[in-house]
């Protein structure tokens, strides 16, 4: 089922500014995980905000085209949870503990207490922040705050979870772990994630959408979307970079059956090991 569908959608933040999104055609289906990549200014955050329905609140915004939101299972509008790029602004600081801060999202959905307690403890386990549950949100580190905001979004059990650079302050171990969590979560909800981390993309993305100057330049499974024409806008895994560099210097194994960008670690190592 389509959750959101954009047709020839363009958006400018003010009447005179160049379009932040330009002629976007994009469908997002339920239980699909889509990662959006591209250079800064390519429109990643704007796409996240537009799909979450938040650009509608910008006073000077103008748009063209159609954005269609489908109804959820019970005939309600599909519900969206979001972690903003500036997630610091999402912590209310009205509550004295992390646990209560996370419960705030459930309380606003009008959930009964028992259900709230259950979801909060699930989300805390899922994001692995049990050790922070009783701490004050005020005294957390940047990465810890990012995890709290993510847990609050998960606790709301949205139909679509939108994450704008969710790894920006996370340590590598948390990043790797979170990849696994999101792979599980996509059984329950659709994911739209603005992210450039190539390891995360390979782990989580069913679909990679590459943006440049407000336009979609590639859209497909990562191995199809990473091509000679989209690679200028993307970070690639270390092993892929090594093979590309080695190809350039002509020292990869002869007869390497080339995909130009080798995304598979084992195949990359074997190509680099050379003739022996």
């Amino acid at each position: 089922m389509k959750i959101v569908s954009l047709t020839e959608f363009s958006l400018s933040y003010t009447k005179d500014s160049p379009p932040a999104l330009n002629g976007i055609n994009f469908d997002l289906n339920s239980r699909e995980s889509v990662v959006v990549s591209g250079l800064s200014g390519s429109g990643k955050s704007t796409l996240c905000l537009a799909i979450a329905g938040l650009t509608e609140t910008f006073p000077a915004m103008t748009f063209k085209g159609v954005i269609r939101r489908s109804d959820g299972a019970n005939g309600e509008r599909a519900r969206v949870g979001i972690v903003l790029q500036n997630f610091y602004s999402q912590i209310t600081y009205l509550r004295s503990t992390v646990m209560e801060e996370i419960a705030f999202s459930c309380e606003n959905l009008g959930l009964p207490r028992q259900e709230t307690v259950r979801r909060v403890s699930e989300a805390i386990d899922m994001v692995r922040i049990g050790h922070l549950a009783d701490r004050s949100p005020l005294e957390l580190s940047g990465g810890e705050k990012q995890k709290v905001v993510l847990a609050a979004a998960i606790a709301g059990k949205p139909d679509l979870l939108v994450l704008d650079e969710p790894l920006s302050q996370l340590d590598p171990e948390s990043t790797a772990y979170l990849g696994g969590v999101l792979t599980e979560l996509k059984r329950e909800m659709a994911l739209l994630i603005a992210e450039n981390d190539p390891y995360f993309i390979l782990k989580v993305a069913d679909r990679l959408v590459v943006l440049s100057e407000g336009k979609i330049v590639a859209d497909g499974p990562p191995e199809e979307a990473i091509t000679r024409s989209s690679v200028a806008y993307l970070d690639l895994p270390a092993w892929t970079m090594c093979v590309a560099k080695a190809d350039e210097e002509g020292i990869t194994r002869e007869n390497r059956q080339a995909p130009p960008y080798e995304l598979n670690y084992r195949k990359a190592i074997s190509a680099l090991k050379g003739p022996n």
Binding site: Q85, G142, S168, Q169, D171, S174, K245
Partner: protein, 281 residues
């Protein structure tokens, strides 16, 4: 300028963020401070620049002991760019933001223009920093701190939110600062990008220093993988590839790895040729 921590601990109200940390870094080095979320990395930077004062222990910048000094005095020695750019930005234009530090400490040595060039900020000088996208807001805060020309520069997560293009600008800035002899201390999780620039490393875990010293000494050690795993940062991808390719020492970028491979092959070929010659003779 040299940075020295002697048995430094720091406690926020009740929670101890740094425990008995001792380390020393020479002037002009580029240092990466790494560790899991909540390991005390940002606290380390704030102590260095005097926003926080040690609960116990002593910090020395060059010949200056930070104890008893005002943060405004220490700001002449060490500029800090915050983890969240929006905590730092306050001026109405990018130009004012970039000039604030320099004008306040009274240095005007032409650094401003170099920083603007290096970070490609010229076209944004008249913009309101808050109207810029995130990656540019971060570059502006990094630029504003770097433009102060302090002998020590502390950057908290400088690559967070940057795409490929801005990371390259940051790389150029780091090379520029290195040539000027600036000591640069960076908190980061982005080892794949920043390790090639690093001279030294500080590994923090639960507020304690697990390792401090030369990057190459860390990676040459048998326990490098273990240390890094315990610090919650895993083993960097290029180092892992180096070991899968049996390189003698880990390399930290695709260019370095391919160079090492070429040398290794050349070595093997020469040996083979030598044997053939011997057999021929």
């Amino acid at each position: 300028m040299k940075v020295r921590f002697e048995n430094v601990s720091f406690t926020y109200d009740t929670r101890t963020a740094l425990k008995n940390v001792s380390c020393e870094f020479d002037s002009g080095r580029t240092i990466l401070v790494v560790g899991h979320n909540g390991s005390g990395k940002s606290t380390f930077l704030k102590l260095m620049n005097g926003i926080l004062k040690p609960t116990v222990g002593r910090i020395t910048l060059g010949e200056t002991i930070t104890d008893g000094k005002r943060t405004s005095e220490l700001a002449r020695l060490c500029a800090l760019s915050f983890q969240n750019p929006d905590d730092q930005l306050f001026a109405q234009t990018v130009k004012k933001e970039l000039r604030f530090g320099i004008d306040n400490i009274g240095r005007g040595d032409g650094l401003f223009d170099s920083i603007v060039d290096t970070l490609h900020l010229a076209e944004h000088l008249k913009s309101n920093p808050y109207s810029l996208m995130y990656a540019l807001r971060r570059l502006v805060t990094i630029g504003g701190s770097a433009a102060m020309g302090t002998p020590i520069l502390a950057l908290d997560e400088p690559t967070a939110g940057l795409s490929l293009r801005e990371k390259k600008y940051l790389g150029t800035l780091l090379a520029f600062l290195k040539a000027r002899g600036t000591t640069v201390v960076m908190v980061t999780h982005d080892l794949n990008f920043l390790l090639p620039y690093a001279d030294d490393m500080l590994l923090l875990s639960h507020g304690e220093a697990q390792f401090s010293g030369e990057r190459d000494r860390l990676f040459a050690g048998k326990d490098a993988r273990d240390l890094m795993r315990r610090a919650g940062i895993g083993y960097p991808a290029y180092a892992r590839i180096s070991s899968a390719l049996d390189l003698e020492l880990p390399a930290f970028s695709a260019e370095e790895i391919v160079e090492c491979l070429k040398k290794k092959r050349a070595g093997t070929t020469r040996r083979t040729n030598g044997r053939h010659q011997l057999e021929g003779a």
